[in-house]
Symmetry: D3
Subunit: 236 residues, 6 copies
């Protein structure tokens, strides 16, 4: 029934290649099918002004998409002079999600910026960014610990994200672009590796959903995140 022939609860093939960027403290290239996102984590020894002298660190994220990541070329945001509403919404979500996996007090007064750049897009780029961004972030933290800059491990647990939705009336896991653009309802589920939830966003543009729909999607999401966490751990 799915355009890709996948089962309702079947993820796309996931691959996570680490250490792909020479300069970054942590990096990976995550592929979820034809969605490819390059994630880097950059460490700076300063925090945003609002955290000065609090002893707390910060994790933030930026998101971008190459102009021809999609079927039709998009205008380059650097050329239009501002990041679009969708970009801003996504990068705020990535930042919030990753922060939930980190003890900012153990991190200390430093900032880690996770850049997620979509090289190729086929649906689910924000979830792939979070899952891959986590790997880059954890690698950067290992670098900091190896160097002795951090004494206590600030990692609370792995953060991973997957999308679910109602496609042709059925709950499906890990929507690709064909499904995403036709789905009545879709949601993003960001979870810790122990199954607790960090953020849940379910939205039915031009449509609504019931409690039963929601429960079905939550069950799929839990299965998907388990597989993603396994892939993260294998890569690390």
């Amino acid at each position: 029934m799915r355009p890709s022939g996948r089962n309702l609860d079947e993820m796309r093939v996931v691959s996570i290649e680490t250490g792909v960027m020479r300069h970054a403290e942590g990096s990976c290239l995550i592929k979820m099918g034809n969605t490819h996102v390059l994630c880097t984590a950059s460490v700076e020894d300063r925090t945003p002004p609002f955290l000065k002298n609090t002893g707390l660190g910060w994790v933030t994220a930026e998101y971008g998409m190459l102009p021809r990541a999609t079927n039709k070329r998009n205008r380059r945001e650097a050329a239009t002079g501002k990041q679009g509403g969708r970009t801003i919404e996504i990068q705020r979500l990535i930042g919030r999600s990753l922060r939930a996996g980190i003890d900012r007090s153990a991190l200390g007064e430093r900032q880690i910026t996770v850049d997620c750049d979509v090289i190729q897009a086929d649906g689910g780029t924000r979830c792939a960014s979070i899952t891959g961004g986590w790997v880059a972030l954890e690698l950067a933290i290992r670098t900091l610990m190896k160097s002795g800059a951090i004494a206590t491990n600030p990692i609370v647990g792995n953060v991973a994200a997957v999308s679910c939705g109602l496609y042709a009336g059925q709950p499906v896991l890990d929507l690709d672009y064909d499904e995403d653009s036709a789905a009545g309802v879709d949601g993003n589920f960001i979870l810790l590796d122990d199954g607790r939830m960090i953020e849940v966003q379910m939205s039915g543009e031009g449509s609504v959903f019931s409690r039963t729909d929601m429960d079905a999607m939550l069950a799929l999401a839990a299965k998907g995140v388990d597989e993603l966490v396994a892939a993260q751990k294998a890569a690390l």
Copy 2:
């Protein structure tokens, strides 16, 4: 236990005054305790370019906050030269939510812009904007129907929104600013009047939540939205 002395499942006093703006096709001033939002709906006989010759209409929203709506003066976004990430995120949510209550085919090729301007803020401004914005929107649609511009009623059902969260470990309904700034988890629940869900956003910045927490918040949200829909119907 709540700073305001309210019960866990107790909303703030809600008031919705309609017809407060002389020029707009629909308007109201919604107050949820000390959060006051002025909502207007403006009709234009044109749609965005991507809907040309589709027969479909559009509902969009813009959100703003007066500089001194809050305890500390915020810089005016018109002066800084751009809308902040939070503003953009909120107005996109308001637009998506309101569209779910409208049959865009019955609306026909016209656009209704709902402006939500926060006069005074005490938490929950995005939910108040959706609930009040719906009233302005429904009034504008009545204006269009009275004038004969629309033949079939495009209203699918009332849209209303409320926030819930975990405050001091307890699920609470309709957070005010004191609760919001201290809550570990908070969520926005946008529902149709029949209880079906349009959008659910639950987020635990620096925290996580369990399925049990989520169920408790969903139950509170259903109660809150029932009361808000009653207030909308009374005002209309």
Copy 3:
């Protein structure tokens, strides 16, 4: 002869309601007929850089208009990415005018920002902003004096403003939108309560005016400002 049926030297009904904003050090809602402006005064314990270590304070103003304050919806300046020329011109005028009523040395090194937000517009919004802005400013100064932050009263005298113009060849007081858009000549008169002038702007776009016209408008303005100062004092 006037569209509203008013006499040539008759003001619209003026009302000034104080204390309408919970957070601001001073606030009022001024109504001149259907023109409604919300004014707040916000105190900060710092001055602009050019006044550092001079012992002098600063009063500045910002002006905005809700998108549907007018008959046709205007684009939100925060969304267009800049304040228009008219907005900038008006807020500079408000700031200059209010500063003339304050002894900046007695104010000391602090800044008061007066925000004037037009909720509904029917002509004369800049004059209403000055007259109402003064009330918000004076209330903020009373707050500062009560708290002991200021020892000497910095108030030189009440500042109020009114528009006059030539409508259908006749000098008229306090133009509403119908008159304003048809007037050959119109002027804004900002006076101190003792009748001395702070700023006079008379302009005849596509028209000119004589010394006799000017004298007639000055006489009307003096009458109008007297009434406005009385309304300010009653409100305070």
Copy 4:
């Protein structure tokens, strides 16, 4: 008593050199003492959208200042990314003033843009821009009439402008920078050549003025404009 040694009612030496720009339909370099402004008038066979099919033309103005026109280098507005409030205020004034000297119906559906670029500044740049801008504009109109593009002369009368102020308590004509920066009150007077007024702006930042002061300044302005109109006519 004046820093320059001039009499109270004495203008600076005025010179207007026409035809200084090879490409423009009209141009001049106006010098009022050490204030030098290059004015060009550019004709386009289109009007702004709001005048389409009205038969009316438009005259607009833009104002700029070279970075080192002043004693201290100013940042280039093209580099800062926007025109400052002062620039916008001035160019709107120049445009309004020049339009008063033109019958826009006789001009027909075309736009003339008058660019006033301050090469060197020593006070009174906006008045010099109006006086010189008029000369450029009249030359452009002569070009249009010679070519037969315009049949009826659209010139209503010469437009010229001068500043007056209270310096050291005395009314003075044509303030230079030393006077302007010290003056308690200063005003700009834009007149037609028959003495009727187009725009009058009197402002006392941190000061006020009486009716007597105003009358004295008006008398000086009338004298100054007479001399400027004579200089315009000599140059043309």
Copy 5:
């Protein structure tokens, strides 16, 4: 003598992998040592306005760099709100260079946008962008010819670019970052495959160069471009 141990006239290892992007009409990933640039060519059936109805096509380029392509993270241009001067200079050079290899009349009224995104930087990114951009462009043209959209082959000749400079007083070929940042003089040489020159830029910031230096660099450039053209042809 060179930090990398290369001979003076030795290029870095070049690799060009084609077809790396699923959606673009032409694409490649070019690596010159540790400098990696992803190049895509996107075809649109419209030209810029200035070419309407001329029968001529257009080739343009945009250049970007991922924030962590370099040793220290750079601010994302989309976030700063504008492309920097260096970016603008580079993308104009890429566009001009590629156009020299295309007969725009045979291309017909369509536009090809070549996006060059630097994934990793180690000096010479503008030259790598031109050399790789050419491959993407030629692939897009082949796509157009295969589909029958273009009848006559518009390719004039391969375009390739290499940098040369004076490092430690010696002329060297294909500078990497270590050399580039220390070089007194460096130049970019963009040539056609027959050895004729499209653009030559030699610059000695804080230094100068003689005719002899220039001749030495030109000889190195000719050798380098020969090798790059061979790599292009092998990849295509």
Copy 6:
């Protein structure tokens, strides 16, 4: 053969008038035929942040063009909100070129900003800006030396620039607008007074050039720069 009737190796008449701006530390008006550029050098006792505590000074440049410097009015960059790509490219070139004539260590920690504003354009504005900019810069340095602020003369040698190109197949010196807009190849040659090269840019948009063409242009450039240096020395 040339539109102007000049010989192939004949420059336009050059004139350099110094001291034209009252406020600048150095200034000149350079005319190369109908291309007129006003150049000022402004000294500030601070360097850009990246030079703090290095003992080195900085020379930078900004370039602008009056809206009606050209045959058709260009939009004012201050009004469009950003400097165009061409402006940015040119001012970076001017800055780099002028720095090559200065020993930044002898200059000490101060910045000189050279503003080049094109009053009238007829081709070759960037070269005129460099040649005139040098004169303004040298005058500013003399001012600094006379005042004792600089002890050692930081001047390495005069910097001057000229354009050459292939017009109708022939190498020509100092292209005017008619030639520039028709030339297949054109180049800018920035030299020191001893003939050594600072920057060479040769570009054939839609065309290519051979080594023989290049040699011919270099010979012309050397002749041109000799004449320009003579004019600079005469003016100084």
